[in-house]
Symmetry: C2
């Protein structure tokens, strides 16, 4: 049995609470706010877990799931702890945790939204720890909820998080631009969804380079110029221009 | 029975040949090259359709599936035809077809790759025609292979194609950048695939605006500056900067 205390009450913490609560071999002994307070009865009810503040057991580890900027400050409360303290951020180094403690990383690489359940089984969990024993503890914890565990250094994790910004945040924004173009022209965004689905399907069997199509790859300047002319939003024009340039460069590497 | 002659031997034409050949009620009477020649026996064999040049029947319509730039020239061969002539391009107006003919559009909105089969049932087909009767013919043809038929004007189709460049071509390029960042850091691109899958899943239940997350949306300048510093490729830096700017503007609209 691995006993966990969750620190923070945000989206990631709530998702972890949900999956841990229904997993054999993991016991959430407490969920505390980033200030270290036990949760109010009201919040516990919202979280649908009446027991989390009643248990007085010591956890095997603390999982700090708070905003990136708060990790350093929040973790200072645990300077005297003998337990393993990990955070869940993709972009914050393990080194921001106090030197005195046993520190580690438990980073689930996924986009979490309020009110949207995710299947943890397929979520890659990136782990890192100061010593081998703690790494094993994190591996056991991760393996009980997911089938994709990666041991990743702080530097690699930072790069992974950067790549995630491209494939998730920026991709979603391109969908947003597509949606806007549809709305402006009385078209349903639904028309584009099968294309979006196939865009993703393709990279299961092709590399993104092999899957690339379109005017930029073909260097079809006539279409490129015409499409730039069609865009009314100045920033969308810039997005079009820069991505076209980047695709062209990719297919004309020395 | 709708009798079709396919003009052009590229990817779209071959995909149409494949789906028409296995659909009741559609008969491909001939596939001809963009110069109007019947196909060689060798090419027919490659296409796995031995019959296409042996049939002497007149088609009900010609489908011109050639590159955008060639449509105008190729369609001139049909100036004397009494049959319906359509092209399959997303970005070329119906007006480039000769005035004298019955013209129309049969635009399957999907990304086609050589050697990758697609399920036509879910592919939106955008149709347009000069007159109601021809539009009905196209609708019947489209409905026999797909469940998503849209009547779309040339202007709307142009916008749709532009939106498709954002959600497909540009999105795929972001995957390519993600892949590159992984490779540079000895990470498998597979780690990102569940995140990519969820990015797409999300927009089935949320608008792209509601699904947006990340440092740009949060206006987290510390992370943005750090990530810009991590990018070595100058063009990738530009891509990051412009997309970040575009997301910020989207969440700070007046």
């Amino acid at each position: 049995m691995i006993k966990v205390t969750l620190v923070g009450t945000g989206t990631v913490s709530k998702h972890l609470l949900r999956v841990f609560s229904k997993t054999d071999g993991i016991h959430v002994v407490q969920m505390i706010s980033s200030r270290g307070d036990a949760l109010s009865k009201a919040l516990q009810t919202t979280l649908r877990n009446d027991n989390i503040a009643q248990v007085t057991e010591q956890p095997d580890l603390y999982i700090i799931a708070v905003s990136d900027d708060a990790i350093a400050a929040v973790s200072k409360q645990f300077t005297n702890s003998k337990k393993l303290i990990v955070h869940t951020s993709g972009s914050v180094s393990m080194a921001v945790l106090p030197r005195e403690i046993r520190s580690g990383i438990f980073y689930p690489l996924q986009t979490f939204s309020k009110g949207r359940e995710v299947d943890f089984k397929t979520i890659p969990i990136c782990i890192e720890a100061d010593n081998a024993e703690d790494l094993e503890l994190l591996r056991t914890l991760a393996e009980s909820i997911s089938e994709a565990i990666y041991e990743v250094s702080s530097d690699q994790r930072k790069s992974l998080h950067l790549a995630a910004v491209f494939v998730n945040n920026f991709t979603n924004h391109l969908f947003q631009i597509g949606n806007e173009i549809c709305q402006e022209n009385d078209l349903s965004f639904d028309i584009l969804k099968p294309l979006i689905a196939e865009t993703i399907e393709k990279i299961s069997s092709l590399t993104p380079t092999d899957a690339q199509t379109g005017p930029a790859k073909r260097n079809d300047s006539k279409t490129i110029e015409r499409q730039l002319g069609e865009l009314k939003n100045k920033t969308h024009k810039e997005v079009y221009r820069v991505l076209t340039k980047s695709i062209k460069e990719n297919f004309n590497k020395p």
